[in-house]
Structure formats: C-alpha cells, structure tokens
C-alpha cells in the first residue's frame, strides 16, 4: 500500500548504474568545445566507453519507465496520459484527463495491449485522479520518488501520450532538465491549483497531461499537468509544470479510498508585511488555528515542517496538504516563538466539489479567458484534430464486463466500491493483529499515570468506567455516546475507548456508517505529525459516525490502532488519544494492545496512561461482573 514499504521487485534496475546522465552532458560539452568545429565520428574517434555506457543506461531507464506509462483514451472526450504506481494496476493521472471520461476508460500500455480501467478517486483541486487498470496483478509500475530532493538542473524526462499520438500505445519520451522547483501556479479561471510544483523544459504538450515526469533513474518525481503557453498556441514552449510526487503521495490513500478529496485551508490568509515578514492578514475565529492561538498580524515562520519566507511558500505548503490533516505551525509574536498543531479544514463544501466533478460549474465551464496570462492545462482540451462532439447526456453507459462490480456510485465518492475495499483491508489488518477470543467480555486495563497514581479502566459491552485519582466516571456503552464526554476534561475518553474496543473486537462494520478516509503521516513519538523531508510512513484513517459521536481511528499497516480523535459535537474540540506500542510486544502483546496512551483535549494534555496489565475476560453467559446491565455478547449497539 505504501510506496516506501512496497515490494522491492524493481531493485535490480533502481540500483543499476545510475551515473551518467549528467556525466554524459559534461563529456559532450567538453568534446564540443574542445575540438570544434566537428567532433567525434568525422575525425575518426569513437565516443568514449563511458559515454556509450551512459547512453545505454539512459535508454534502459527510459524503456523501463515507458512500461509504466499509460495512454488513456476516453473516446470522444479526448484522453491523456497516466502512470502505473503499483503492480495491481493503480495509475495516477490528472483530474482534467479523466473528468470528461466518466467511470470507465481504455488504457494502452507499451506491451501493445489495451486494458479496461475504472475511475477510483478524484482530487479536483490538485488536478489528480487515480484509476485502476484490470486484467493483471503484475503490471509494470514505477515508484514515487521523494520530490523534495529534486534540484534545478537535474535531468528528467516525460513519457506520455502527447497529441494522443500513442495509437500503438508506445509512449513518447521527451527529455529535459528541471527548470524550477517549489513553483506556485494559482487557479486561473479553474479551481486547479498547482502548488509546490516542478517546472521542466522537457516538452509537455496537450495529451501529456497525467503522465509521469521521471528522474534519471526512472522514478516518478511528478505528474505533468500544465504548461505556460501564452501567445504561442497550445504547444510546448519549454515551460511545463508537474504536480510533485510528494503531493501525490499525500493524497494517494484518500484517492485509493474512492473519495473525492479536498484540499486544506488554515482558515487564515497571509500577506507580506512591509518589512518582508509573512504575517496573518485575516483569520476565522472558527478555525482551529485561531483556537490554538494564532492571531491577526502574527508572523508565520513554518508550516508542516517547512520554512515560510514568502506568501508563495505558504501557499506551496498548504496546497499540497489534504483537508483533515493536523500539521505543526510555527509563528512568532513579539519576539516569542510558538509552535502549535493545527487541524486543517476543507476548502470546499462537499456540494461544491460534487458540482465540479459532475462538470457543472467545473473547469470545463469556467474556461480561462482568452489571453489569460496563467499557464493552462495541456490536456484539458482535446487536440484540435480530435475535437469531440457535443457532450452527450450524462446517462452513464453500462460498464464493460471486465469492470463489473468495480463501481458503486455514492455522493461524496468517485467510486464507493473502493472505499469498501480499503475499509475491509484495514479491518482485516486489525483483526489479524488482535487475536482476542470472541465473543469477549469485559476489558480491564490497570496502570499508572505520569505521577505514579493508579488508574483503572473497565470496558464492558454495556458500560464503561474509569477510576482516576480525581474520581470515577462511567457511561452507558450501548447507548448514545455524546451525552456525557467523560471523564470531565477529556473530551470523551471513555466514548473513544468504548469504540476502540468495539473496533478491535467487531471491526469497522460494527461502528455504524464507517468510511475509509485515507492516510496521515504516522505519528512520531512526540505526538506531532510533521511532513518531514524523507518519505514518511503513513497510517490509515477510518471515520465512524456512531452513537451521536464522530470518531477517526488511525491504524498502522500492521493493524495496530495508533490513535483516536473523537468529537462529541461537530464544532467541539476533539478528544485525542494516541497509543504507543512496545517494540518487542509489551504488556498487551498477547492481544495486540498498546503499552501506553496519551490523551489531549483542546490545548491541554489530559494525561499519559502507562498500562501495567490488560485482562480480557471471555464473555460469560449471565453477566458482566461490573456492569449492571449485563448484556453479553458482541457488538452492542452495532449498526449496519
């Protein structure tokens, strides 16, 4: 699921001598300048072996990369390019390529075969989309590189379907150098925003949209989607832009979950002050940033682990983040430095995104004005020689046989079928990790707080209670969970633990309307969730609305539940629980449970709970020894 941990099947060629592309350039230059006017062959001197070897390597890298290139054909709606990023057929492309295509499309690979593909996920704001090719489980694919290591001058190449030339499915390759990094290209008559993108002088033409920009070793550093054309017609002028692979990676989980994903807003705008500082120029009082302490005129120093020195830098960072992520923000006020964790809100209302996706008020309608000075998306118009007929009525054609059962329409989702696939995958991982005898009865968790005072938690099917030095609290575990955010000051810890137990024992289906949200960077030991420079590890997120509360479960790849955020009301501050596991198993290892957990609510740490012992009782016929309402069995209050 994650590129970082994915199969190393391609190691052989990744490690293949990666030298020589820059070296080739250097040698060629030396040759050209040293012996003018004519060098090489005419003078009877063969090129050095190192040059020939470098050339062979480059040809091999391009051949491999071409295998992962996808030519997307959407019939009358045009087409574009894509790139396979996993052997089971997931391919990244542009939103503006698949939007006119609908749910099903045909994709050609360089093996000469045409595959059926189904739409999986959409990111209309970031101009990304995920499709899945079917028919093989061993598709050639390319890994996503860490695009933050890309530098100006690096060799790169695009492999795609410019002008829809690839009627034999052989991609066109165009080579160039990285012309600029961390470019910001704002919305231009469309909502498509290219933040933190990579600028290249490799030829990017209409039809290249959605295809990969590869580095010299054939790893994906970006998704080509846009170019500056200006007054020279819609052909390459040596200025193309690619969505960075790191941005794509941020959204990949949510896209795999079949969602229509949204981008993030801080709830605040920034501007450059007269002295060059980047300061908050406006802020919503309802925003999380405001609640965490950010105010008008504060200087923004860093966001999500990246320095902010210009307004563009701020937009660059924000534009690559999905809504719902929690990121560190550093600001300065009166010489004092503050660091806060801010939960990012969605830019659009769900209905707005739906309208854009369905093409009502979307990019195709809000076409840029003629003479727009902004770069334009190369693939968002079919090439002139393949102009489409007027769009047909939106009655979806029946899916081809190969795609039967791979699509389910649901509001808010591009393809809900894949949400169920991801939800069930996470459920299987959770179940595999927790070998608890089922049906299970009461869980008793005893341990100590930071100050060594004891705590005791009992989680029974119908009742949950906690003994703390400050007192005892209990809730009805089978009823509404929002009534009593106990214990006081936690924001709903008992409710979170009740749902935690239910998730582990009975899976996500027991938690009412449960959806797969996507991924977040795995929490670090400090509890922060920074977007660092190295490729981070990602955890999955499940969202459940049950018993009057909303809970988000963060689940590691091994099925360990690493965190819960629980809201007892939509605008309430959540109760944030983060679990820590011992590297060698630890206390609850027999049943896969954690060693400790921390609880935060609003701006305050509620407590750190170190677990001494977990007792999982089997369910008894008659009663749960601690609960008055002795309801045996599992899944109390479960909904379907």
């Amino acid at each position: 699921m994650q590129p970082a941990t994915a199969s190393r099947r391609r190691c052989d060629w990744r490690s293949a001598r990666a030298v020589p592309w820059p070296a080739l350039v250097a040698v060629v230059v030396a040759t050209a300048t040293a012996s003018r006017p004519a060098a090489g062959a005419e003078a009877g001197t063969a090129p050095p072996d190192s040059v020939l070897a470098a050339e062979r390597d480059r040809v091999a890298v391009m051949a491999r990369a071409s295998g992962a290139a996808v030519a997307i054909f959407a019939g009358d709606a045009g087409g574009g390019s894509g790139v396979l990023v996993s052997p089971d057929g997931y391919a990244l492309t542009n939103f503006h390529v698949v939007q006119p295509a609908g749910v099903a499309m045909k994709c050609g690979l360089s093996d000469g075969r045409l595959y059926d593909a189904v739409l999986v996920g959409l990111d209309p704001t970031g101009d990304l989309a995920l499709v899945k090719l079917v028919g093989r489980d061993d598709f050639p694919w390319a890994e996503l590189a860490d695009s933050d290591t890309v530098a100006v001058g690096d060799p790169c190449f695009a492999a795609g379907n410019p002008f829809l030339l690839a009627t034999d499915f052989q991609p066109s390759v165009s080579a160039g150098i990285v012309s600029g990094v961390h470019r910001y290209q704002g919305p231009a008559g469309t909502i498509l925003e290219y933040a933190d993108c990579i600028q290249v002088d490799a030829a990017i033409n209409p039809g290249n949209s959605g295809g990969a920009l590869f580095d010299a070793r054939g790893a994906v550093i970006g998704i080509n989607g846009r170019a500056s054309f200006e007054k020279r017609g819609r052909v390459n002028v040596g200025v193309g832009y690619a969505i960075s692979s790191n941005q794509a990676r941020h959204f990949l989980g949510a896209l795999k979950g079949g969602r229509i994903v949204d981008h993030a807003t801080l709830g605040a705008t920034v501007a450059t002050a007269s002295d060059g500082r980047v300061v908050v120029s406006d802020i919503l009082e309802s925003s999380d940033a405001y609640r965490r302490g950010l105010r008008y005129d504060d200087e923004v120093v860093a966001l999500a682990g990246r320095p902010v020195r210009t307004v563009n830098a701020f937009k660059n960072v924000l534009g690559t983040l999905p809504s719902g992520w929690r990121v560190p923000l550093v600001y300065r006020r009166g010489g004092q430095r503050h660091e806060i964790l801010v939960r990012l809100a969605a830019v659009h209302a769900p209905a707005e995104l739906e309208a854009i996706v369905s093409g009502e008020g979307g990019p195709r309608q809000r076409r840029r004005t003629p003479g727009s000075r902004r770069p334009q998306a190369p693939g968002d118009e079919p090439p002139p020689d393949e102009a489409p007929a007027a769009p047909a009525a939106r009655e979806p054609p029946p899916l081809p046989d190969a795609l039967r059962g791979l699509h389910e329409a649901r509001p808010g989702f591009a393809n809900f079928h894949f949400n169920l696939v991801e939800r069930d995958r996470v459920a299987a991982a959770i179940a595999a990790r927790h070998p608890v005898e089922r049906p299970a009865g009461t869980w008793r968790v005893v341990g100590r707080l930071t100050d060594k005072e004891a705590f005791r938690i009992e989680l029974a099917p119908a009742r949950a209670s906690i003994d703390l030095p400050t007192g005892t609290s209990a809730i009805d575990a089978a009823g509404e969970l929002d009534a009593n955010p106990a214990p006081p000051g936690s924001g709903g810890l008992l409710a979170a633990l009740v749902l935690w137990r239910r998730l582990i024992l009975d899976g996500p289906r027991s938690l009412g309307r449960t959806t797969y949200l996507g991924t977040v960077p795995a929490a670090t030991a400090a509890g922060a969730e920074p977007a660092g420079t190295a490729i981070p590890v990602y955890d999955d997120v499940l969202d459940a609305a049950v018993g009057g509360v909303e809970a988000r479960f963060i689940v590691a790849a091994d099925g360990a539940v690493t965190g819960i955020d629980l809201w007892t009301a939509p605008d309430a501050e959540p109760c944030e629980v983060r679990f820590a596991y011992a590297a060698d198993g630890g206390v609850g290892d027999a049943v896969g449970l954690p060693r400790s957990f921390t609880v935060r609510h609003a701006d305050a740490a509620f407590g750190t709970f170190t677990i001494d012992e977990v007792v999982v009782e089997p369910a008894t016929e008659n009663a749960d020894s601690t609960g008055p309402a002795a309801t045996a069995g599992d899944g109390a209050g479960a909904e379907r």
Partner: protein
C-alpha cells in the same frame, strides 16, 4: 558615472580565458560541476526586472544580469523600462530600485544601476571566444514571471544551432540589430525571458537572450541570444556615454504599427518614414494607405523621420483623431485613421 573597466578587470578576464583554454586543451581534469551546481552559481547573478507594462501583450517584467559587484545590470531596452520606477529582485529576494544608466538602441540593450556592494555578479568577459554551433548551453531567465521573491529564475537547456546575422526585417517584429546572434534549439525566448543569461556548462556568460521576435508570415518565434562581445560593446558604450540615442522616454513615442502602419526599419539617424506595408483589417488599411507611401505629416505636423512619426503620434492623446499626410506618386494624399488607440493596446 562609472568607468568602463569597473566590471571587467582585464586580469580576471585573461585568467578566465587561460583557464578555459587549459580545460579545453587538456580535457576534463577534475570532476566537472553538475548542471545543477553551474545553474545555482550563475543564477545568483540573474535578476528579475519589474517596470512598466501589464497591459495586454506587454509584460511588466523581464530579466537582467548583474555584471558588476557594484550593481550594474545589463538588460534589454524595452517598454518595461519606460517607467519612473524600475525594480530589480535578486536571487535571494532582495529588492532594489534601479536607475536607468543608458541604452544602446542599436543592440536594444540597456544598463541599469542598483545601489549595492559585493553583489553576486556574472562577469562580462568580452574576449571570451564565441561559442560554436553544437555547444550545449543553459538559459536562465524570468520567463512568464513564474519566479517571485527569493524564487530562482527558470533554467532551460539547449544547443547553439547556428551563429548567424539577425535578419528580422520584412514582415517581422522590427529589430534594429543587424549583427551576429546565436540561434538556439530550445524555446528560450518567452515573455519575460529577454535579458536572460545564456551560459555554458562551466557557468560562463556567453550571451544575453534577446527580445521576442516573431515572423508574422510564418508565426515562428525566434529563439536567439546576443553574443557576449556585442553585449560588452553595448555596455562599454553605455557606461562611457557613447550610446547613440536617448532612451525612449515615458510614453512619448507611439508605435505606428498599432494603427496598422508598418514603416521601414529605423536604420538611420533620420530614416525617411516610408510605409512598408499595412496590416490587413487595420485602420491604416481602411484609410487606403499603401506600401511605398511616404509620410510627411501627422495631424499637420511635419515628420521628417520615422522617429518623428512616433513622437508626433505619441504627442496625441488616446482617442484623438489621427490624420496622416502622405506622398504617393508625386501627389499629396490625406488619410484619416480614426481615433488613436492606447499605447499598450494590441492591434
């Protein structure tokens, strides 16, 4: 105000040349800098220039090259400089107001000055041999204005495909320069690119990207650069006060092609204002002007030269009626062209 050697210490140039020759003869003796390192070094001397413009078809930005640590910036002579306030933004985001030192209208180059010390210059080495066709080069420019603040200008790579005299007269954007240029095989000449640095793979400045030129017949845009020796001559002339003509001042001249009046190229001090052509569908065509007409008056004011035509038109306000008096086959003909468009208005 400055002497000519300020930016070009002869010793430095000689040493550089010697080093270049050594490298060329001996071949690579040590690890060559990667293109990325070369670009990073040279780009520090490339500045983003902001001035007048921003209306359709005319950018308010271009590129400049810091050629001395004291703050001399070589750029192209264009409407961007028709402004009381010209700003240069360095690679590190520092912003300086710039003063126009002077211009060389023949080569369409200008020199700006910013107040600074120890600035990261990209020296102008006039006696660097011209590069040969086939030489790989890098272009650094403020294309499309995509880089702002401390963002680095864009880098592109290409090859010098020909070293030829510039022929950009009939049916083209007018370019007074008739000297040698490097034709490049890469799309270097985009909006904002003029004034950009053409460097070789050792990071040496070998040329300056020229203004945008397009053949109206074929629609082809030319990608080219002025060789560094021509740039150095212009620089020397400008800082020595030898540049031949005053700079076009803030909006006092008006381009007659905006009325569809295409005059012969301005080659002489007083080029007679013969009509080369009229643009189809333009006011000039509608008024019956023809090729080879000689303009003698604009709204009754005599115009002995091409420049006088531009100044006379520039003296009118937007919307004023334009009446041209021409000599055609020995006869005087009056032609009314209707209201004068705004200076920046696309034809």
């Amino acid at each position: 105000m400055s002497d000519t050697i300020q930016g070009r210490p002869a010793g430095g140039a000689g040493a550089l040349l010697a080093l270049a020759l050594t490298l060329a003869l001996a071949g690579p003796v040590s690890r060559a800098a990667t293109p990325g390192e070369t670009i990073a070094g040279a780009a520090r001397g490339v500045v983003k220039v902001y001035g007048a413009g921003g209306v359709r078809g005319l950018e308010a930005y271009q590129t400049g090259i810091l050629v001395t640590p004291a703050g001399h910036v070589v750029t192209v002579l264009s409407t961007v400089l028709d402004s009381d306030t010209i700003d240069c933004v360095l690679d590190d985001g520092r912003r300086y107001p710039a003063r126009l030192v002077g211009a060389d209208p023949a080569r369409e180059l200008a020199v700006l000055a910013i107040e600074g010390e120890d600035l990261p210059a990209l020296p102008l080495v006039a006696d660097l041999p011209r590069v040969a066709p086939g030489t790989r080069v890098l272009a650094l420019s403020n294309l499309f204005g995509v880089a702002v603040g401390d963002e680095r200008v864009s880098a592109q790579h290409g090859v010098v495909s020909a070293v030829v005299p510039l022929e950009a007269r009939r049916g083209s954007y007018e370019a007074p320069y008739r000297g040698t240029v490097y034709l490049l095989d890469c799309t270097t000449n985009n909006p904002g690119s003029p004034g950009g640095a053409l460097i070789d793979f050792r990071g040496r400045l070998v040329g300056v990207l020229g203004k945008e030129l397009r053949a109206s017949a074929s629609g082809v845009w030319l990608n080219y650069a002025l060789p560094i020796d021509e740039v150095a001559k212009a620089y020397d002339d400008i800082v020595a006060g030898r540049a031949s003509a005053p700079v076009a001042g803030g909006g006092t001249r008006f381009d007659p092609s905006l009325l569809g009046v295409l005059l012969v190229p301005d080659l002489l001090d007083r080029t007679p204002p013969f009509l080369e052509a009229t643009r189809a569908g333009s006011a000039a065509a509608a008024a019956g002007l023809r090729a080879d007409d000689l303009l003698v008056a604009v709204n009754g004011r005599t115009v002995p030269s091409r420049r006088a035509v531009e100044e006379a038109l520039g003296a009118l306000a937007t919307g004023d009626p334009v009446r041209l008096t021409v000599v055609r086959g020995g006869a005087i003909v009056e032609c009314d062209l209707g209201p004068r468009p705004a200076a920046g208005e696309a034809p």
